[in-house]
């Protein structure tokens, strides 16, 4: 095989050093009766044949569509430097920084990422990453239960319905009381999402106050790019802030790898799941970084650990950090402003023929009720080169005619106009 460098003569020499006659002798501990008899696996390919095969598979995915699909995952611009830098093999072929002296690149980047998350969300500490937004929300819920010694988790209607399902799945055997609503009385936490799954923006500061009064933690799910403009979770009184970090320089990639962001108030840091990097000094007094507070983690505490997480999404966190550095305060503000302005432009055009369902201002995404089933409309718009949005009934978040439409800074005015015209035609006929 191409990647097996040991030659036949070297193999003989190595077997001699070991003192066995054949490689098979090394498998003597595997009972003969349990050995594999054969399997239904395709034969190996050359690199050339493999690439042709992969190209053919990729060609069966249509990616030249004008994208108005969001639902928590967005088609944002990614600066070229993000790919160029995160593609350095010193980053992506390293592993968890167990030996800090030869992993200062990893450790400092995680420290800078933790700092960027805090600065963005107005929080005091952040971990090194979790898997994705949905699992970050689950971790936030159980973290709140640990911190408050309570078992009721209250989930507001603003929260992504798929993440809510993930929460129920992950908590299936835990003795937790997961309820809908926003009542903090007796709760470990109340979880809200801003902007909501449907794109509605609110100021949840009052609920933050009520949570504090009731001794419940306030968990805010945020959209990182929106914080180029919107009030931060910290400013709303969030005790824990979580997010899907995909919008920060990660490709859509059909679902991952993404980035679970989790930040908190500093008093909660010992209840946090996952790796945390801290600053320290070396023997010569030079600044350096290490994994810290590891007594929370599975490799030390085993069944008493805060979480089972080991591998995380460090490379995705690195990309998010690079994205935020390249954007800077003004670039992120401008991106958020462009998303918002373009979405408002499109919303006003669509509102002329289909009612908008949001009960307040929106950020870069909104829901409309179409006179025809959304799936049918989307099918027709596919034919015209548009990914028209997310039919809300498909994720259990609306009626057949309800469509969630997202707009990012990548959509041009010409695309918005063409989309609005096509949607109107498909919904109302050509007689305009």
């Amino acid at each position: 095989m191409t990647w097996i460098p040991v030659t036949d003569s070297e193999r003989e020499e190595m077997l001699g050093t070991i003192g066995v006659n054949s490689v098979e002798d090394l498998f003597a501990a595997v009972p003969e009766a349990l050995r594999m008899r054969g399997w239904d696996m395709p034969p190996g390919l050359s690199e050339m044949a493999l690439r042709a095969h992969m190209d053919a598979l990729a060609a069966r995915n249509k990616t030249d569509l004008s994208c108005f699909l969001g639902g928590g995952y967005y088609d944002h611009f990614i600066p070229a430097a993000v790919d160029a830098l995160s593609g350095r093999s010193e980053f992506f072929t390293a592993y968890t920084p167990y030996q800090p002296e030869c992993a200062q690149g990893t450790l400092q980047s995680i420290y800078e990422y933790q700092s960027a998350v805090c600065r963005l969300a107005g929080m005091e500490c952040a971990n090194a990453s979790l898997y994705d937004g949905g699992t970050a929300m689950f971790e936030a819920a159980t973290m709140a239960c640990r911190a408050t010694c309570r078992t009721r988790v209250v989930v507001d209607g603003s929260v992504n319905p798929v993440w809510r399902r993930m929460l129920l799945t992950h908590c299936a055997k835990l003795e937790l009381d997961i309820v809908d609503g926003a009542d903090p009385e007796g709760a470990a936490c109340v979880i809200v999402q801003n902007p909501s799954f449907l794109g509605t923006v609110r100021d949840f500061a009052d609920l933050g106050e009520r949570c504090r009064a009731a001794g419940a933690l306030f968990v805010v799910v945020f959209n990182p790019v929106s914080l180029g403009m919107l009030k931060t979770p910290g400013a709303m009184g969030a005790d824990i802030a979580v997010a899907e970090g995909q919008s920060l320089g990660l490709p859509l990639g059909f679902g991952g790898p993404y980035l679970g962001i989790l930040a908190a108030r500093k008093k909660l840091i010992r209840k946090m799941p996952g790796r945390i990097v801290g600053e320290t000094l070396d023997a010569q007094g030079r600044r350096g970084f290490v994994l810290t507070l590891q007594a929370r983690e599975q490799h030390i505490r085993r069944e008493k650990a805060n979480s089972n997480i080991c591998s995380n999404q460090a490379l995705c966190a690195l990309r998010a950090l690079m994205y935020l550095c390249l954007m800077g305060p003004e670039g992120l503000r401008q991106t958020a402003q462009a998303c918002h302005s373009k979405a408002e432009y499109l919303k006003s055009r669509i509102a002329a023929f289909a009612p908008v369902l949001n009960d307040g201002p929106t950020f870069h995404e909104f829901a409309v009720r179409l006179p025809r089933p959304a799936e049918t409309v989307c099918a027709e718009l596919l034919g015209r080169g548009f990914l028209a949005g997310l039919p809300l009934a498909a994720v259990g978040a609306g009626e057949a005619g309800d469509l969630l439409v997202a707009v990012t800074e990548k959509r041009t005015r010409a695309e918005l106009d063409a989309y609005a015209d096509a949607l109107k035609e498909v919904c109302c006929g050509t007689d305009l």
Binding site: P31, M41, C67, H170, G256, L326, A394
Partner: protein, 480 residues
């Protein structure tokens, strides 16, 4: 080295963005942040130089031998990176799998999910695979939650315990506890395998499942694994296979044939996807007949019209919003198709050969943790060196100075002064010889110049770091 925040200069920009082509829309100021986020203000070159210099402060598989036991740091083929970056995969929106209407525009991706899950099931000797879990530990959690779903469905309300050997990865007990099970630990014998009699003793009616790693973290195949499965099934307890060490047996034997009901794969270990400084990996799972009805959903199925999504009536639910770390699965799929069924057994053959070769060269100078041959990793104990004041930690740091990543140290907890070496199948004999020479040289220095080992590392950007200080004077973020 300066932090990126310390390089910030007010007014400096990196990226030119498109001017706004629609009227600027307002938003009520009470909903907005009063000032822009305090992110660094830097040029693109500032960013490029900063992260390039940071990368040079790392050891990685592409530049160093990285025999980190239990982590399977094999070479990650470049073709896998190339195909994962293909816009046909990388730009695909995940919600294309949420609505039927979009299935026709993501057939290639659905086929890749279907085929990867099918091949994983085949490699595992299982009935079906599922790509949702996003890391090994997440796969473990999915697995024990599947076991919970099975017992719930059967009305086995008394099943509340999971048995786990003391040599297991910390994630096993953490996952079982996180799912809501009680954990009972089974000790190892002096020979390094699970104590079968103790297991049988513990296998009462409350046991929901047994989690095993095979070969175990001592690098040894569990000789009674089949009997464990029989005993467990006799009390309707299910058997979980931790696939962390699958590299030792891939293509040689299959967990399903050994009697396991559910397993996870670390695609980033066995199937050579990069470890990314700690992730992303993938903890895809596969299940046998008993757990098939409860798999996470929805599932990709093949029909006359192509690939489509199907809900599973008794599904345990969702571990991920979509198909887990899909672009990691793309890399693993490419690896599987590259090696193919004919090539995969050479992975285990050479991984085991290499580990035994290093074991043979080193077991004189260092004490072997266990007798006999090993599987894909060998465990040494630095107890003799520790008697002279040089610990596993010192040996690890001395290896860093010699241009090698260190083995895993102090794990498993069952072995004193443990050095756990996993070369993988992709390393050459010369590389392993250089590493062994360094280990032997260090063993000699223990007697002649121990102080040089206490001082290591001296060749890296920082020397030993004060971990106590990091925890005491906690500074985990540079705030604005």
């Amino acid at each position: 080295m300066e932090l990126i925040y310390e390089k910030s200069r007010s007014g400096r920009r990196a990226v030119a963005l498109e001017p706004l082509d629609v009227p600027e829309a307002e938003l009520n100021s009470e909903l907005c942040r009063p000032a822009a986020a305090p992110l660094p203000e830097v040029s693109e070159l500032d960013v490029v130089r900063h992260f390039t210099l940071l990368s040079q402060r790392n050891y990685g598989v592409d530049s160093q031998f990285y025999p980190l036991g239990s982590c399977t740091m094999k070479y990650n083929p470049k073709v896998s990176e190339l195909v994962a970056a293909h816009p046909g995969f990388a730009t695909l929106h995940p919600h294309l799998s949420s609505a039927k209407v979009y299935e026709p525009v993501c057939q290639g991706a659905l086929e890749l999910v279907f085929e990867t899950e099918r091949m994983l099931a085949e490699i595992g000797g299982m009935q079906a695979g599922c790509l949702q879990p996003m890391a090994g530990a997440h796969g473990e959690l999915a697995g024990v939650l599947l076991i919970a779903a099975y017992h719930r469905d059967k009305g086995n309300t008394h099943k509340r315990t999971i048995l786990i050997p003391d040599s297991a990865h910390g994630t096993n007990p953490a996952s079982a506890a996180m799912a809501g099970f009680e954990v009972r630990e089974i000790p190892s014998t002096p020979a390094g395998v699970m104590d079968f009699d103790k297991l049988v003793e513990a296998l009462d009616d409350t046991v929901a499942g047994v989690m095993m790693t095979c070969p175990n973290t001592h690098g040894l195949f569990e000789p009674q694994v089949h009997e464990v499965a029989e005993r467990a099934h006799a009390v309707d307890a299910l058997l979980y296979y931790d696939g962390a060490n699958l590299n030792a047996i891939v293509g040689k034997c299959r967990p399903g044939d050994l009697g396991f009901d559910v397993m996870h794969f670390n695609l980033h270990k066995t199937f050579a996807t990069p470890h990314g400084m700690g992730g992303p990996g993938s903890g895809a799972i596969a299940v046998g007949e008993r757990l098939l009805p409860y798999l996470p959903g929805p599932r990709v199925v093949k029909s006359a019209d192509g690939y489509t999504l199907e809900t599973i009536p008794k599904s345990m639910g969702r571990m991920a919003a979509f198909f887990g770390n899909f672009l990691i699965a793309v890399r693993a799929y490419a690896f599987l198709r590259y090696y193919g069924g004919d090539g995969l057994p050479s992975v285990a053959d050479n991984a085991v050969l290499n580990a035994n070769y290093m074991f043979a060269r080193l077991r004189g100078a260092y004490q072997a943790a266990f007798e006999g041959t090993c599987m894909h990793e060998c465990l040494l104990s630095a107890v003799r060196q520790a008697d002279k004041g040089i610990h596993a930690l010192d040996i690890a740091k001395a290896l860093l100075d010699r241009g090698f990543h260190a083995p895993t140290i102090y794990f498993p907890l069952t072995v004193k002064e443990c050095l756990m070496i996993e070369p993988t199948e992709t390393e050459s004999k010369e590389t392993m010889d250089l590493f062994c020479d360094a280990m032997l040289e260090i063993a000699q220095l223990v007697d002649v110049d121990p102080d040089s080992l206490h001082a290591a590392p001296v060749t890296l950007p920082v020397s030993r770091l004060d971990e106590v200080r990091a925890a005491k004077d906690l500074n985990c973020a540079c705030l604005a």
